[in-house]
Amino acid sequence: MAADRKCSLLIHPKDSPFTVHSGYSVWGKYISIGLKDAGWPLAVYAPVGVKYNVLTFDDIDCYPGTEESFGENLVDMHLDRLKRETGKEPLLLQIADCWALTRTYDLARQGKIRFIITPPVDWISPTPQYILKKLSCAMVVVPWCRYGQDMLRREGLKNVRDFIPLGVNTDLFQPLDRSKFPETMKSLGFEEDTFNLVIISANQFLRKPFAEIFWGIKMFMDANPNVKVRLYVHAPTVVKGGYNLSDLAKHIGIDKITKTSDDYAHICGDYDEKTVVKILAMADCLLMGGLEGFGMPTIEAQACGTPVIGLNVGSTAELVKSGILVPPKGTFYIPNLLTKALPHEKGIADALQVIHDSPRSKWKSGIKFVRENFDWKRCVIPKWIKLLEDIEGELDGRCELEIPKPSETLVEQSKDIKVIS
């Protein structure tokens, strides 16, 4: 029997957990199902993927949004709706780029909402003051990794809790026998004797280092002309504000070995988690070069027995057990004042060399590492349950959830009627 929870939860992953396939939506799906099973009355707010009408998936209501991005215009109204429907004080649980939000912080500052934010910390210190000011309005900040947790605490933020990582379904993400998936291999452009590389990423200029990774692959190919390299890029190939990946591959000279995912299939949501499992399990290496807030593919690949090449800055350093970390080639500012880093192309090439020259069996330790630290059900959801129970306890202790009813002693005394003449 589920525990009687004191609050209701509005889970705000921005992307619909049930119709969109993104890192945020995956988080939204597992968290909403996991917390619902743990007894919290909740709803999901997903302005990307749900426009007009409340839709229901797996007994979970998805509230619609009319604005793009985080749909902050409806947050307080949805919280009021949730309170009316559940009778319980609502908490907003939001996974979000903290620099992008504005109205949410204003509402919190005015005392109109309570929210918990779990943001990616995908920059190098110092954190811009405007971000620290924004985050201070949250009831609680829950980073995704120790890197983010330590940085924000060091910079003076007082409401930072212990980090809770993103997760992976290790019942789903497991090594596969490639020989049983010839069609998948073919669709990715892979063959039995090729060195199969994968990139799984959003397509965002500078945030995702496609150019550096492509150059690293080129350098490896130039140093190893007899190695048959194949690259599969699982990302929208043409995006406003991002790269034209086909053009980039051609410019760098790796277009002949590169295959990309289908943009129309991305739009239609044809690539689900099961698809991603196959992609990663067929690969010899996953390339993640950016300064990530987390990087779900990093743990997904390792769960499938596939090593990862990642940047030696940020969360990736904590997440790579099977793989190689490469140094940055430098840091730079982006317009929102965050300091980012890009991987060194030579570092990528050298890492590819090591992985190519090693037997696949060398890279298996990641399977157990991921299972024991990042499985949604076994590791991540229990941490969220504990945190939310602690928060409810704190709110209840401060009598913030409801006007407390009088003690039993007072109730008895109040019923003891006397007449005084």
Binding site: G397, P406, L410, I417, I420, S421
Partner: protein
């Protein structure tokens, strides 16, 4: 020697806007008679009224000021408790185990109460509730009832044609649910409900007549035989029940009224203790601790 009253509400401009204001105003007037210089500071004029080091601070309802403002002040402090200031819901203290053992708001208030030269409470019940939470931090203390004017509230020798009256008890924290239960259990009793409107329907034997001007209340009490108040949470004093009793009503009540906890045996005894005597009592208690320095 100046006495600085600190109150969230201006009891000089609006002395009858609430029980605490009426009480403070009465004591303030007595202070004028005694020749004391007194100044009232509210959150509105706080920044314009400098406090001198030798001023004596009477901290009345200071929820909006907060305790931190005064803890480090060098001034002598008299803590005049009206409600349950430390409680998030100061008007309806629930006396739960978490209140007594681990109130989240206790610490800064405890520092202030401990620093005070004197903690004044409105009744033995009011004091007892605080003692449970704060122990010796509220010592020394004095008990001073609210000054209700026995010349204004008295029997008028009128025929009491009506049955029961109750004032402001249709509010949840004043025992609305107990009122409704009693009305249901006593369907043949007719209850006149005065003051704030209930947000839930009242039984059919309740007649809601709205807000009545304070000046008309003595006459209204004198039309009724009984006054009903069944508080759900401990009331520090409750001027209304005192006013109705002095006006000749019999009381239907419980032990959660501070007035009842005084244990006065007769209307004569009540007349002696409240009114101007209460205000004299107030200043005597203060003079005792200030002169002792």
């Amino acid at each position: 020697m100046r006495f600085i009253w600190l109150q969230d509400l201006n009891f000089v401009e609006n002395p009858y806007s609430g029980g605490a204001q009426a009480t403070d105003f009465s004591h303030y007037q007595e202070g004028i008679k005694k020749g004391y210089e007194q100044v009232l500071i509210t959150p509105q004029n706080w920044r314009n009224m400098p406090i001198q080091e030798e001023d004596i601070l009477i901290l009345s309802n200071i929820k909006n000021f907060g305790p931190e403002r005064f803890v480090d002040k060098p001034n002598p402090i008299i803590m005049f408790h009206h409600d349950y200031l430390f409680c998030r819901y100061r008007l309806f203290y629930p006396q739960l185990e978490k209140c007594i053992k681990s109130c989240a708001y206790k610490e800064p208030w405890e520092k202030l109460f401990k620093k005070a030269k004197l903690n004044i409470f409105l009744s033995p019940l009011h004091y007892k509730m605080h003692k449970e939470v704060f122990g010796d931090s509220i010592e020394p203390h004095a008990l001073v009832p609210s000054p209700v004017d026995p010349d204004k509230f008295c029997g008028m020798k009128k025929e009491r044609k009506k049955d029961v009256i109750t004032v402001n008890t249709a509010l949840p924290f004043k025992g609305r649910d107990n009122l409704i239960a009693w009305a249901h259990d006593n369907p043949d009793r007719k209850i006149t409900v005065v003051g704030a409107r209930s947000d839930v329907p009242l039984p059919s034997n309740c007649e809601y007549i709205g807000v009545v001007p304070y000046a008309k209340m003595p006459e209204l009490y004198n039309e009724h035989r009984f006054y009903l108040e069944l508080a759900g949470t401990p009331q520090p004093f409750n001027r209304t029940i005192c006013e109705s009793y002095l006006s000749g009503c019999s009381l239907i009540t419980n032990d959660l009224l501070g007035f009842v906890s005084w244990g006065w045996k007769s209307r004569d005894e009540v007349r002696k203790k409240v009114g101007k005597n209460a205000s004299k009592w107030f200043w005597k208690a203060i003079e005792k601790v200030i002169k002792c320095e």
